[in-house]
Symmetry: C2
Subunit: 487 residues, 2 copies
């Protein structure tokens, strides 16, 4: 190892000076950085670390060059670099010195955000099986998409997203979800929450005062909180066993309503046809906007999927879709299909700071859709999740027959009804089994009174295949334990 | 071709009925969709398009099945699907009818945003040569990164971005830019503007009233407008031939200052060492924040790059970096290196709707950095851009020696000084040559008085290699024409 050492004046640990250590072999191996860079780094580090204190005079470049066995120009250049950066000062007659302003030591970094300890099993709703991400097929699509991309795809793009993806989505959504989707009405966003955020901005700008978006009594807290943070009110719609009571819309008179018509989250029912119609009628009469969150519309097991509400009136309904359930949340890709009058407003709202989605992922998803890989993947997932659903129902029927299951015609989660008051104890019993679960109450709108209904929202799509049997077993164990204690 | 036809009652063009046309071969070829899906689609389209008017009674499933030559259950299922979606109604004794609410025809889509007609040449500043994107190397890194990714990478992630990328950036930024960059202080964002937006949010929350961010007299309008839109004031700092006059900070007393120290945009000078020091002193005395926009710090030609100001005081300086110049804007990847006290605030500000960057691109960039591919790419680009700069300087010296060039020690753009008053006529003359250009005045802060200084900001990095010679020739032609007319 060809190492070079030099001792500089300064405040070393022993008070005798600073050892400047440069490993020439290592620095030569570093791509593109030479001795000059290494020397600059070493000197900067010595100042930063306090080993070279402010005011210290450095040896002349000639002296240091001899000590280190490097060219004098290399040292002179390194000095000049550090003068330009403000670490050193050079004055005629005074030589090169460490700059007078003490370089502050950076504070300790903040601790990383706390994450819960790793549970062995996880049946939280809201995530697909991440181990099922089609890595090979995705890479094949990426290879094709990147090779075929025009150069301008790598530049600053249309805030609505790549036209290739919007075209592929328009075709797919019309075919698979009955959505009326012209590419010019589509805005690509970084997931459903981002899409909702963009819409909230447009609603706030477009309506005076504090606009309101009616939401379902039980729903995703993240969406509610996002609307509230954007300055919107979120009055809850009542519900009954058939689903959300859309007949309350004329009384509540919101500016918009956020619904999950295909598969209510978390209760799992599909909005009945007459309520779909009622909602569209309300929107037409009063100019209201319907936001259709179609988060898991692709996964329906009992029959062909219920088409999107948007098809009934594309000028009154915003369709909100996402790749987070069908592919992976990590892609951060979602899409809005907008009434014509809103498409430009939302694109404008995205603005220069919000061309959020990488072009390469967009092009890859476009290729994934048009090649049929998306359909194949969704079909394979549907089989996999359906099998799990059937196993869940069978296991519960056998081991805890008192627990009834609902919301299972579609999607990646089920609602398990428990005896009144047993929700929290079931969650605790599950934690005892190393299983993370959420109860229904977690999704209750804060303005909706707590009831004595006790239920769990079980995301059976979440575990990897190899963890599914264990998670299901832990769930049954926990439920059996709780039911044994419940009178 | 096995086609099936049926004639339904309704309002066809001839008033005689609706031809329902199903191409069985085509539908079978469609992945996963069968006859039932095709029939559902055809019926829905007939209602949507007004060919089946509200109230129309459909034939019984038995009759239609015979007409189409399909199983009766297929028709019954398709009817049931459309009832569930609200297109049809089914009543005991009344048969299946088209639902009464008229389905509204969607309005014509909005016209796509207007884009300027394609100029033959483009020397706009702010973009690298998009044709130089290292597609093959990027795909190699993507393959490796996707194969190696843990399953959780495909899930909802840390709002700060993937730890693999933050770690790789910390190492790279310390090595190449002298940045003190702990991974816990880094927040990945979707480009510099997004990073600035996040910072603006934190500044607005953290300080009372209407906080101010001092900006340079000439700078990126997008950044200024973004700060203004976020409710921040943006007083301009004066400048002289050495660059931005940081001695005005104590007088202006802003909450923060946004600078481009390594290579002022657009004027092209590097902030002198004593002004770097002065800025840090100001920040320390008054608690101000320095935002260092290091947009093209990697491209310096005359000497080793000027290290980042951030290294002088990591607790007072926010370092803002981007892949938009070194790789491609289309990636939408940038990074903030933050003082410890701000890192958590900014991550919180990203929130649930702003996990904006796809995990796969982040993992790919991490692999690209750690494998040395990034260094190799930057080095190759530096040679390419340096060659262009030299050609620009040589061509101007030969063909329009009256034009002086500045700001060329670094970066992807140069400032060409013109005779007073000639800026707009040069831009027009360039347009005549099919060349798109921007003048210096375009970047002037609105509060800074217009001067008679005339200059062009020429982005010589922008054209593809094959377009460079033509763009340079068009530039020289345009300048020669303007100078011939200028007294």
């Amino acid at each position: 190892m060809a190492k070079s050492w030099a001792t500089l004046p300064g405040a070393g640990p022993s008070g005798t000076g600073v050892d400047l250590h440069i490993d020439l072999r290592e620095t030569a191996a570093r791509s593109g950085s030479g001795v000059r860079r290494a020397l600059t780094d070493a000197l900067r580090e010595a100042v930063r670390g306090g080993r070279l204190v402010p005011g210290t005079r450095l040896p002349s470049s000639r002296t240091l060059a001899v000590d280190l066995g490097v060219a004098r120009n290399t040292v002179a250049d390194a000095y000049a670099d550090l003068v330009a950066e403000g670490w050193l000062t050079a004055r005629q007659g005074s030589g090169t010195r460490v700059a007078e302003r003490a370089v502050s030591r950076p504070a300790a970094p903040p601790p990383p955000p706390r994450t819960p300890g790793p549970a062995r099993h996880d049946l939280l709703p809201g995530s697909p099986d991440l181990s099922a991400f089609p890595r090979a097929a995705w890479l094949r699509a990426a290879r094709k998409a990147v090779a075929a991309a025009p150069n301008e795809a790598f530049g600053y793009g249309d805030p609505r997203g790549r036209v290739e993806l919007r075209t592929a989505l328009a075709d797919y959504l019309a075919r698979a979800r009955g959505v009326y989707a012209d590419p010019d009405r589509i805005v690509v966003c970084a997931g459903a929450a981002h899409g909702l955020q963009l819409l909230a901005g447009v609603l706030r700008e477009g309506r005076g005062g504090s606009p309101s978006v009616a939401v379902e009594s039980y729903g995703l807290d993240v969406h509610r909180e996002l609307l509230t943070a954007a300055g919107l009110r979120t009055p809850p719609l009542p519900y009954d066993e058939q689903g959300t009571r859309t007949d309350a819309l004329p009384r509540l008179r919101p500016d918009a309503v956020l619904l999950t018509p295909a598969h209510q989250f978390p209760l799992g029912v599909a909005l009945p046809p007459e309520r779909r119609a009622e909602t569209v009628d309300w929107a037409r009469r009063g100019g209201g906007l319907i936001v259709e969150d179609d988060y898991d519309g692709e996964f329906r097991y009992d029959r062909q999927s219920v088409g999107a509400l948007q098809g009934l009136d594309p000028e009154r309904v915003v369709y909100l879709g996402t790749a987070s359930k069908s592919l992976a949340p990590g892609l951060r890709l979602g899409w809005l299909v907008l009434p014509a009058r809103l498409a430009a407003d939302v694109a404008r709202g995205k603005g220069p700071s919000d061309w959020a989605c990488g072009a390469l992922d967009q092009l890859t998803l476009a290729e994934f859709l048009t090649s049929g890989a998306y359909d194949r993947h969704v079909r394979a997932c549907r089989l996999r999740y359906r099998r799990r659903r059937d196993q869940l129902v069978a296991a519960l029927a056998e081991r805890v027959p008192q627990v009834s299951v609902s919301g299972i015609a579609a999607g990646l989660h089920a609602v398990l009804e428990l005896p009144a008051g047993a929700e929290q104890s079931a969650i605790r019993a599950a934690a005892w089994q190393g299983l993370t679960l959420l109860g229904l109450d977690r999704f209750r709108h804060p303005d909706v009174p707590r009831t004595d209904r006790a239920a769990l929202v079980v995301g059976y799509g979440t575990p990897p295949d190899h963890g599914w049997a264990g998670a299901l077993d832990a769930l049954c164990e926990a439920l059996a334990a709780v039911l044994a204690e419940t009178p």
